[in-house]
Amino acid sequence: MADASYPDDLLYHDQHDWARLEGDEHAVFGVTWYAQDSLGEVVFYDPPEVGAAINKDSSYAEVESVKAVSDVIAPMSGEIVEVNDVLADAPEQINDDPYGEGWLVKVRLTAPGEAEALLGAEEYRKLVENG
């Protein structure tokens, strides 16, 4: 994806991860445009197992690019219900479509109130543009 983009309908974590709430109990997570741009070409995604418990602010997966391996931080706590299998053969989707085809996991939330601590698109954009 060529230009920086931070969709308004998402919530953001300062470790460069996004959350899309789906109903009261579920959310989809991924990494932001800033994250994929910093990483460079993504070559491998090591997903967690379905059923694994993940905790807000902790690492739940790894994304590997040609120059680095990066922990992916959970914006909220929950249980993994689905993992994006497409990325096994096409990890570059994380670069090309970080908010769409490049989604990482779908989660059943265990503490929906954690959304309060996340940033809106404008706040996050300011965070990354000001360094």
Binding site: E49, E64, S65, V66, A68, V69
Partner: protein, 456 residues
């Protein structure tokens, strides 16, 4: 100034002038007076080159080597013939002097050599992926344990056969303390791993099962059968092998091994009093991102020409830091290159013929020695190039007597295996002629008889 001589006094004066310092001593002005030595180092006066030569030659003469003694000692490193072509190539400065090829554009020869090495080891072990080498056999085993623990998502147990080289088991124990892993050893029966005991030892908490074939005692293990226990519980099967036997034995990759590794010294490297040598490490495709060591890859450059690079560097410590798959930093590439040259010189047919020669000559030696008075086989299981005997006299005393007759008779098993206190491990290479073997049988018999007389 040339690249290889140190700075002359004129060079030093010029450098000092350039930075505006009076003397070299002034560069150390920050070091407090009480901490300074204040006198020359207590070293003896320098010697001339000729004197140094005499001194070192005298020290070296205190050791025995394989030119002086006929060597039947193996136990993990073997007295093979290293063809002259190995040195002719490895002593070239382009291979002898460089370090890790982080700049591929000036390291194409070295990287291609690594790639050829990886290809050779991959074909010999019948596993698709190989790294560019590790330090030696034992640390390769420990590295494999680290990989297995990481890959097993929480399992903490390692099961290892006592047939695995004692140095490997010791290194594994050392590393495991750091990993927080529990290591359980399984004993031998009839020279090979006790299959029933192995099956009992492996459970759902086992990350990996380690075997060696031929094992330390020289016996060939039924890796496929023993591996069933690992497969049943989802543990990795890791097999240490003697690369010189891969021309005649079924490769570990065809026997269900997830990882095949070992001591590479027999290929292209002399004994050199124990090193340096190299370890090799081959595995299945799924494990590639968790493998230790450097990996050379083949690719195309910007102009579409074939080129070689270090690939998957994101596993390594200079990128991944504390999450790296390993912390190897020195280059065993030169030793691995020696192995590659040796293999190329032998060729596919030659490598297989050498393996067959080892098997035949070992069978001959085993029969001749077991026929000597006071000697019997420790076990009947099939062997490839090494076997164990039981002696009717103290093994260390027998070794001394054989050494007096110019023969290094082998390895006293009692040193590492209290259960085989009267055991002697004998190794055969293509350098051991029939005449040497016949002579050894006579010397061994005489030594045992002499000891029995002395004891009575």
């Amino acid at each position: 100034m040339t690249r290889y001589t140190s700075a002359t006094p004129d060079d030093r004066a010029e450098m000092l002038a350039a930075i505006g310092v009076e003397s070299t001593a002034d560069l150390f002005a920050q070091i407090p007076e009480p901490l300074r030595l204040g006198r020359p180092l207590a070293l003896p006066a320098g010697m001339s080159e000729a004197e140094v030569y005499e001194r070192l030659a005298a020290l070296a003469a205190r050791n025995a080597d394989c030119e002086e003694q006929v060597c039947f000692l193996g136990a993990g490193m073997y007295d093979h013939y290293v063809p002259a072509i190995v040195d002719a190539i490895t002593q070239r400065s382009e291979f002898l002097t460089p370090y890790t090829p982080y700049q591929p554009e000036i390291s194409q020869g070295g990287l291609q050599a690594m790639f050829e090495f990886q290809t050779a080891m991959s074909e010999l072990t019948a596993l698709p992926v190989s790294n560019a080498g590790l330090y030696e056999g034992p640390s390769s085993v420990a590295s494999a344990a680290y990989l297995a623990l990481g890959a097993s998502k929480g399992r903490r147990r390692i099961v290892v056969s006592r047939g695995v080289h004692p140095h490997s088991r010791e290194t594994l124990a050392t590393y495991s303390q750091g990993f927080g892993a529990e290591v359980e050893e399984v004993g031998l029966d009839g020279g090979v791993t006790d299959a029933a005991a192995l099956a009992r030892a492996v459970d759902g908490e086992t990350a990996a099962v380690f075997l060696q074939s031929p094992n330390f005692l020289g016996a060939i293990e039924d890796v496929e059968a023993l591996g069933g226990a690992a497969e049943e519980h989802g543990a990795l099967l890791i097999v240490a092998v003697d690369p010189m036997t891969l021309g005649v034995l079924r490769p570990p990759g065809e026997q269900g091994a997830d990882i095949a590794l070992g001591e590479g010294q027999p290929l292209g490297n002399r004994l050199d009093f124990g090193g340096p040598s190299f370890g090799f490490f081959c595995g299945s495709e799924e494990l590639i991102r968790k493998m230790p060591g450097r990996i050379a890859g083949e690719t195309d450059d910007a102009d579409g020409r074939r080129g070689f690079v270090l690939t998957l560097q994101t596993r390594e410590q200079h990128i991944r830091r504390e999450k790296a798959t390993h912390n190897i930093c020195t280059a065993q590439a030169l030793n691995a290159l020696a192995a590659t040259i040796h293999l190329a010189w032998l060729g596919r047919e030659g490598f297989r013929e050498l393996g067959e020669l080892l098997v035949r000559r070992t069978a001959y030696a085993r029969e001749r020695l077991a026929a000597a008075p006071g000697v019997e086989l420790l076990y009947e299981a099939p062997v490839a190039r090494e076997f164990a005997l039981r002696l009717d006299a103290p093994v260390d005393r027998v070794l001394d007597r054989c050494a007096e007759r110019g023969i290094a008779a082998g390895y006293p098993l009692g040193r590492e295996y209290p259960e085989y206190e009267d055991g002697l491990l004998v190794a055969i290479t293509e350098r051991r002629t029939k005449a040497q073997i016949d002579d050894f049988a006579e010397v061994l018999g005489a030594a045992i008889s002499a000891e029995m007389v002395a004891a009575s």
